[in-house]
């Protein structure tokens, strides 16, 4: 009788725990559903990088391109472009778009960020 009670109590806790987890994650999520570009799905990230490449192709501004790519949360903007190229290949991007991505990739490989001047 006593062991049945202990077993039942443990089982009730487990049931409550599962219900609590489901309620917290699905019914009352505390996180704001609004996200950042770093949380975008891979195909949307690839299009984000393509937009950056299109703009870079016109203005040639690598610093601005690097700033845009930094929004994707990668440590190195080149990694973001590499990932976008792989995704673009999988999705069958047009040749012209692949060339734009490649142009951005090449540009970033030769890019050296200008260090901020330090105050004496």
């Amino acid at each position: 009788m006593r062991s049945w009670r202990i077993l039942g109590f443990g089982l009730a806790i487990v049931i409550g725990l599962v219900a609590g987890l489901l309620a917290g994650w699905l019914l009352f999520p505390t996180a704001d559903p609004a996200t950042s570009p770093a949380d975008l799905r891979a195909d949307y990230k690839a299009d984000y990088v393509l937009m950056t490449a299109e703009i870079y192709h016109q203005d040639g501004n690598l610093a601005a391109a690097t700033t845009r790519l930094s929004e994707l949360g990668e440590d190195d903007p080149i990694q973001a472009v590499q990932a976008a190229i792989l995704t673009a290949q999988d999705l069958g991007y047009a040749q012209a778009d692949m060339q734009l991505l490649a142009g951005l990739f090449t540009g970033l490989q030769t890019y050296t960020p200008v260090p901020l001047e330090t105050q004496p």
Binding site: G8, A12, L17, T35, P37, Y48, I55
Partner: protein, 258 residues
């Protein structure tokens, strides 16, 4: 022994409160874990889930990419990812914000895309051939109407407007060499002690080549449209009289063409 047994068995049965207690304890622990320890995290999202600030940056990137590639269909496809039913209006509003922040190029890009989207139309073209198509449906041709805006703008019409609804309003309408509205063109207005800059296309509901400016009665304004465009001087709100004989400041309507 038998008496004890009978006494226990015949007593009122207690409900299994320990089970309810266990469920409540588990529920509290589960809520604690799911809300504080391991809260839900959103991954692999779509642009529609971006924060308002990031949506603004995303919109600007679309506008800048549109300036770079002039691919309106692609820009519309991208802007539709934000699932915004009033995309053109939001672009125009963001352009106005960018302008007030001194980001003229961004404002120009956003206004240009806003105007292009609002003029993007699906035109149903029914062929003049008296023989209907086999399936009986008219041909549908998508015509993105992009307006060339190069070249100086010269004034072609200038009229005072005596209408109480547009009192003191300077209305400007730009048309390109084809006679179509010209969006995204910068207009500079200067007066004694002030200057203002705005773009056509921020009120696409009126016209994508339309812009307006509220004048103060008694103040003389100079206006230049686009780079190298004609500069008009001494523009001021005209004196008008309503049906009751009361004087009020009227508006001015200017039409420019290339």
């Amino acid at each position: 022994m038998d008496d004890d047994y009978l006494e226990r068995d015949e007593g009122p049965r207690q409900p299994p409160w320990f089970l309810l207690t266990g469920v409540i304890v588990g529920l509290l622990i589960g809520l604690l874990i799911s809300m504080l320890v391991i809260p839900v995290k959103y991954k692999d999202t779509a642009p529609v889930a971006l924060t308002d600030g990031d949506k603004g940056s995303y919109r600007l990137m679309i506008a800048q990419a549109y300036r770079a590639n002039q691919d309106l269909a692609r820009a519309i496809s991208r802007i539709s990812l934000l699932q915004d039913p009033t995309a053109a209006d939001n672009l125009a509003a963001q352009a106005q914000q960018a302008l007030s922040s001194g980001e003229e190029q961004a404002a120009r890009d956003l206004a240009g895309l806003a105007a292009a989207i609002s003029t993007y139309s699906v035109v149903q073209v029914t062929t003049a051939d008296p023989t209907p198509p086999v399936d009986g449906t008219p041909a549908v041709v998508q015509i993105p109407t992009l307006m060339p805006t190069a070249g100086p703008f010269l004034v072609v019409d200038r009229q005072p407007v005596c209408d109480g609804a547009t009192s003191g309003l300077l209305q400007i309408e730009l048309r390109d060499r084809e006679g179509y509205p010209a969006p995204g063109v910068q207009i500079n207005v200067t007066w004694d002690g002030g200057v203002d800059t705005f773009f056509t296309g921020l009120k696409p509901a009126i016209s994508t080549g339309y812009a307006d400016f509220q004048m103060t009665p008694g103040v003389s304004y100079n206006l230049q449209v686009g780079e190298g465009g004609e500069t008009l001087t001494a523009i001021s709100a005209p004196d008008c009289t309503d049906a009751s004989g009361n004087a009020y400041a009227g508006g001015v309507k200017l039409v420019f063409g290339q």
